[in-house]
């Protein structure tokens, strides 16, 4: 979607056009839900987060500054929503038990990534989001900075610190993958 077309849709959505809002949302479904799933490790929870974020974004569309892109802004809302869910006491109590029942597409790959997954989930929120956006969703540093609302230099710093923390788990994961 071109930037001009997107601005037109944003303008229409700000005036209550749901169809325009749906067209804005459509390209974000995949990255937003993948991020939420990576943050929460639960499909239903991830989809709920997307829905909640979509509702919040709809209510706060007027806060989106003129000329700003929709997707980074929306992904930022999703990231914040994930943080709120993880902070919730209910989530902390329930997720531990559910972690073993989470469906995995490929069991061996799932097990190989266990250490890395744990390490990522143990990162501070800001570093975790930066890592997942940049490496998992393949977003550029500039795009990540737009999502997080910080400078590209700040993003690089967070990524650098996170990579340092992840290095031991990454080595284990690589070793498992290579047999």
């Amino acid at each position: 979607m071109g930037e001009q077309a997107e601005q037109l849709l944003i303008d229409r959505a700000k005036h209550g056009d749901r169809a325009a809002y749906e067209r804005l949302l459509a390209p974000t479904v995949l990255p937003a839900t993948r991020l939420a799933w990576a943050m929460l490790q639960d499909r239903s929870e991830a989809e709920d987060v997307f829905q909640e974020a979509a509702l919040r974004a709809w209510r706060r569309l007027a806060n989106l500054r003129a000329g700003s892109r929709f997707q980074p802004w929306f992904i930022g809302i999703v990231a914040n929503q994930c943080r709120e869910v993880r902070r919730g006491r209910w989530w902390r109590l329930v997720r531990v038990a559910d972690a073993f029942t989470t469906a995995a597409p490929d069991e061996s790959a799932w097990l190989e990534g266990e250490d890395l997954r744990r390490a990522v989930l143990a990162l501070p929120h800001d570093q975790r989001v930066a890592i997942l956006l940049h490496f998992h969703l393949d977003m550029s540093v500039t795009a990540v900075s737009a999502v997080l609302g910080i400078s590209p230099a700040g993003v690089r710093t967070r990524i650098k610190r996170a990579v340092r923390r992840l290095r031991p788990a990454l080595q284990v994961s690589e070793a498992r993958a290579n047999g």
Binding site: A46, A103, F135
Partner: protein, 538 residues
């Protein structure tokens, strides 16, 4: 290099797997956005220009307010927990996610769940009519529970909006809902014991309605050596009930004399019925429906069989079915006859439609007459030259003759009809659905879907066998190779050319299978399971 390794490992470690996210997520989200408490435009941006002192004052005031409210809440909670409050357990469990089964696993067979009807008025808002299945109506059979569930997010969540207990011989089997989902009508088969339930506020409140008092089922006396052991038995002839929407309905009821049918109309969901006219069946339709014994001792079929279609207070059509198709005293038909009324059923004129080329003229039967508006409509005919009822699976009918279907179209309210369009062969259809004048879908026995977007001129297979978990059938669609008890259901429909729903199969093994609700958002190309509400609890 290290970054590339990290990227690769993260991709692998955080792969959510296939079919994620749910393809319906966006449409459900948009549906949620349309909920009454969310509907409306986004809030306007505003910024408060307040000084630090003002903000500080506000904080102090807020703190005091919070303390006062907290103290009040503490007192109120203490008072309330020491008071006796009757607790009503939630009567129904509703499964949360996934391809839920309809209680087939958890309930005893006698209490198994049966879905009688499902209707969606938009891609996200729909209703299902569930009940405890009753196999045989008898004097000792238990009462049954019937529930109407509603979803507002394409099956993600369900809520019961109507619950009733019925004598096991009574039935509620059909749902009619208005386009906005606020008016809902639940009705049963057209017998004298039928009651109707009507809601005009989306299911918040319900009123019980009845059929017109004059619409009692007539009875025929069926006799003959091959009929029920040679006994003469009085059997009811049920009136026909036709509802255009939850408010506007018609009842056509035969009188005991078999020569007259009473036509009733309601415009308030069955609260009041008006006798529009008494139709002289012989005069208007040329059908002799007497109950006199024939030469061999059997009796003619005295039933006014056919389909009535009404639109508004003036336009109506009637097409006779099967053997009744042939007007009395006529030779075997070389044409179909359609009756049309422009004065609400007072007077009828007949229109002749040529039997499709290549079809047997002996016994063509009409399956569907449908009008999309006052002008456009279709007439579906089956060429079914065998003894079984139209639409039955040949393996169960003792025949191997291929059933052929044809569709006529009209764009002038049924005055003239197009040449018949043949539905592709070889196929046995559980049913065909006509979404609008151009978009039709067919559900062949053996699984899969076929669709056309140009009124049947071109068809394409849009889904293969097994889309809904049906057992693969060897030689599906070929005559004589289908299992006799192939468990197909025909509860499905389309809101528009893209959005459809289906309840495609019924369990044969309660341990492994159940009813499942599927949705499509791409005209039937892909189908996704959604949850069904589960009957349970008290």
């Amino acid at each position: 290099m290290a970054e590339e390794t990290l990227r690769r490992n993260l991709m692998r470690a955080f792969d959510p797997g296939p079919e994620f996210p749910n393809p319906l997520l966006l449409s459900r989200t948009m549906a949620a956005l349309s909920a009454p408490d969310i509907a409306g435009s986004p809030r306007r941006s505003f910024r408060l220009a307040l000084g630090r002192r003002t903000l500080g004052s506000m904080a102090v005031v807020t703190l005091i307010a919070v303390l006062v409210v907290s103290a009040g809440a503490f007192i109120a909670i203490n008072l309330s927990i020491h008071r006796s409050i009757p607790v009503h357990p939630a009567p129904f469990k509703v499964r949360a996610q996934g391809a839920a089964v309809c209680n087939f696993r958890s309930s005893p067979a006698a209490q198994s769940c049966e879905i009688s009807d499902a209707v969606f008025v938009s891609p996200s808002v729909g209703f299902v009519l569930e009940g405890t299945a009753v196999a045989v109506c008898s004097a000792t059979c238990p009462s049954q529970t019937v529930v109407v569930f509603r979803t507002r997010d394409a099956g993600l969540h369900w809520e019961p909006v109507y619950t009733t207990k019925l004598d096991c011989c009574q039935q509620l089997s059909r749902l009619v809902a208005s386009a906005d989902g606020k008016q809902i009508l639940v009705l049963g088969p057209a017998t004298s014991t039928s009651t109707l339930a009507f809601s005009s506020d989306g299911g918040a409140t319900w009123e019980s309605r009845r059929l017109p008092s004059g619409a009692r089922a007539a009875s025929q006396t069926a006799c003959g050596p091959a009929y029920k052991g040679g006994k003469c038995i009085a059997e009811p002839l049920a009136p026909q009930i036709v509802f255009l929407d939850p408010r506007h309905g018609w009842v056509v009821s035969q009188e005991q004399s078999f020569g007259v049918a009473d036509l009733f109309r309601t415009s308030d969901g069955g609260a009041n019925w008006t006798l529009v006219t008494k139709i002289d069946i012989n005069k208007e339709f040329g059908l002799s429906l007497n109950n006199d014994p024939m030469a061999d001792g059997t009796r003619a079929d005295p039933t006014l069989r056919g389909q009535f279609v009404f639109r508004g207070t003036s336009l109506a059509w009637f097409v006779p079915f099967g053997p009744s198709l042939i007007p009395s005293g006529s030779a075997p038909a070389d044409s179909l006859t359609l009756f049309r009324s422009t004065d609400g059923g007072l007077n009828w004129t007949s229109e002749k439609i040529a039997v499709p080329t290549g079809a047997s003229a002996a016994d063509p039967g009409v399956l569907t007459l449908k009008f999309f508006n006052d002008q456009q409509g279709i007439l579906e005919v089956v060429d079914n030259p065998r003894t079984g009822p139209p639409g039955c699976v040949p393996a169960t009918c003792g025949g191997t003759i291929v059933e052929r279907r044809f569709v006529y179209a009209t764009s002038d309210g049924g005055v003239s009809w197009s040449s018949a369009i043949a539905i592709p062969q070889p196929t046995y259809y559980a049913s065909l659905r006509y979404i609008d004048a151009d978009h039709w879908v067919g559900w062949p026995y053996g699984g899969g879907w076929m669709s056309t977007s140009d009124a049947g001129r071109h068809w394409k297979v849009v889904a293969g066998v097994g889309q809904f978990g049906e057992p693969p059938v060897a030689g599906a669609g070929l005559p004589g190779q289908l299992p006799a008890d192939y468990p197909l259901r025909s509860i499905y429909g389309f809101v528009d050319a893209s959005h459809g729903w289906a309840l495609p199969y019924q369990a044969t093994d309660p341990n492994v299978r159940g009813l499942a609700l599927f949705f499509t958002t791409d005209g039937g190309l892909n189908w996704h399971p959604a949850s069904l509400p589960e009957l349970g609890g008290s």
